[in-house]
Amino acid sequence: MKFLLLMLGLCLCSQAQPRTPILVELFTAEGCGACPPADELITAIDQIQPIPTANLIVLSEHVTYWDTSSRDRFASTALTNRQLGYAKLLKIEGVYTPQLIIDGQYECTGGNGPEAKRLILEALKQPKPQMEITANRINGKIKTNVSFFGLSGATVLVAIAENLAETKVSKGENAGKTLKHTAVVRALHTIGTAEGLRFDTTVDLPMPPIVDNFRVVAFVQDSKTGRILAVAQSKL
């Protein structure tokens, strides 16, 4: 793990500092031979939180275009479309895996730790309002409350993500490998649009087929630019 931190060019600092939440999305696929190093990097970022001023909230989003002869059980068309949406917004000529999107504004190759660090530091220059999230499992649903001030006109989304998932891949470029993923998105819901001074909404979200360990990540996104305006997570 320390080697991955070296990739990021970061130090382990114990000094407590206020941390700004940054959303780090990894578009990946189990059928993509270049993706396992990026999966490892996102795991390291999540577990070690290596930038002292950032609270790095990660999501692994599996895309479908590698499902040519075997299916990635975490992939969905919605996530593929989300990546295509970023390509349009960020004016990239196409999509690829693995790809990191930092706060909906910056992108780089998924395994490129030094570039990810540079982009995270860039994203940290933008202030973010505080966002509160609570999530509880009640009667087979995930009761989620999201609240924040300001940010009128932006879309509020909630992702339900499996904390750690593992697959022994049987076909394709990664055949024979056991792949480990962090914060694997299993469902993504739009729960509203921020209007007025305060957004405070509670929703009952259906429970995806996850056994136990998952997190709920809420974020506010400007649909015109893709920029993440606020983000918070609750681990259950």
């Binding site: 590698w66 040519t68 190759t109 990664n174």
Partner: protein, 132 residues
């Protein structure tokens, strides 16, 4: 593996790493792939499972009902400059004005750092009977 990651030099992603040209005569076409540095193309021989192999299809099946393209070596992944040879057996004479053949390609490519989704390209070549 961690050591190899540390040594990896990252380069800007090239989202169009394979350039194609199609040339030939009524007896044989040559499909040339120019594959960018760091990238590999999944070849005709790529087994099922995972990325798709290169697919070559002709639209004018009334002239070319079947093709059997070959590649320079049996590797599943190819890099650099590669010629695929496509022997032709036209089942109808070429019209006086020439015969335009349209070829549809579908393929996938990867580098050490990124992989691209299945890509489609359309190529065309005009054949003349005088070139027999």
């Amino acid at each position: 593996m961690f050591y190899s990651l540390l040594l990896l030099a990252y380069f800007a992603p090239n989202l169009n790493p394979v350039q194609w040209t199609l040339t030939g005569t009524p007896k044989q076409l040559v499909l040339h792939a120019s594959i960018s540095e760091h990238y590999k193309l999944y070849s005709l021989t790529k087994p099922k499972g995972g990325p798709i192999p290169l697919e070559i299809k002709f639209r004018e099946t009334n002239y070319v009902p079947a093709i059997h393209p070959t590649q320079p070596n049996p590797a599943h992944q190819l890099s650099g400059e590669v010629d695929f040879t496509i022997p032709l057996k036209l089942i109808k004479p070429i019209p006086a004005e020439g015969l335009q053949l349209h070829v549809d390609l579908r393929y996938q490519s990867c580098s050490d750092q990124i992989c691209l989704p299945p890509t489609r390209r359309e190529l065309e070549v005009t054949l003349h009977s005088a070139s027999h």
